[in-house]
Assembly symmetry: C2
Homo-oligomer: 149 residues x 2
DNA sequence: TTGATTATGATAATGAATCGCAAAATTATA
DNA sequence: TATAATTTTGCGATTCATTATCATAATCAA
């Protein structure tokens, strides 16, 4: 059993929930998907492979993943929540290309430390944070330059 | 005439739009409000002072403010957009208290510089960014400590 | 196997934000 | 100032992502 499956089952048993084939199937497809997937994308991906799961169950299951610590929800400003695996994944922040919607992950310990410094100066306890850099990725820049020639 | 009013009128004339009493009234109340106000809050504030303006016009006018460079929209994760004056206001980021919803502004040039460094390393051109630190403010921490005694 | 409990799919409901439209207001021009 | 082209308004309808409802189905401890 995968460690992600074990984590989810542990959460399920600790909360008197039940292991269902839907939950197992959503987990399988979620783990096999690109990071930062939307509920709708996951729904279509499962439908396309013959599953008859309902969209409400996708939402319920993704919420369950978040509650169990397996996933986290992100809002990148396009009106749809995106979900990504965070269990056994190093914390990171995001660069978001507004031309091709590509999402680039990065880690920067210096920024993390400075955030804590800002919090301390304001007697503030940080529980979570969001750092998103919006702009144009290198591929889209190159494409634009080629067109401009 | 206030500099904010001048900026808006300049934008209006440059785009063949019209100065209306509604737009003037929304601007007056917006400038007189707390920073980070929602459309609904602004709507109620105007209604409470006898205005019969419609909510759609509030939304339209706030969008106009953003297009003119007077204001910017923020999303602090509670599902409602908030708007704040940015014209002649120094760029800053936000600490958001999840207990009392207080919003604390801060500036940190070191973080801003590191963001650019991250972008450069990824050949990414930043157009805008979002840095939000979520947690508990000092007042709410103090309150909680007092209760725990 | 049973039966208490939880989960599911279909559909309705929600809530923030936008749209369409007829009527009203603005403003350039005469 | 009167006219008329253009823009704006308020209202209500609409959109879209997400959640709630509820009857039926599935899970699982005993
Ligand atoms: Mn990520
Ligand atoms: Mn601010
Ligand atoms: Zn791109
Ligand atoms: Zn607080």
């Amino acid at each position: 059993m995968k460690k992600e499956e074990a984590l989810l089952k542990d959460h399920i048993s600790k909360h008197n929930l039940k292991v269902t084939k839907e939950r197992s199937a959503v987990l399988r497809v979620f783990l096999d998907s690109d990071r930062h997937i939307t509920a709708e994308e996951l729904y279509r991906k499962m439908r396309d492979t013959g599953s008859s799961i309902g969209l409400a169950t996708i939402y319920r299951t993704l919420n369950l993943f978040c509650e169990s610590g397996l996933a986290e929800q992100r809002q990148f400003g396009d009106g749809q929540a995106r979900y990504e695996l965070v269990y056994n994944v190093k914390h990171h922040d995001h660069l978001i290309c507004q031309a091709c919607n590509r999402i680039i992950e990065f880690q920067n310990e210096e920024i993390e430390a400075l955030q804590e410094k800002v919090a301390k100066k304001n007697n503030f306890k940080i529980f979570s944070h969001k750092l998103e850099l919006y702009g144009i990725c290198s591929a889209c820049s190159a494409e634009k330059n080629a067109l401009d020639q």
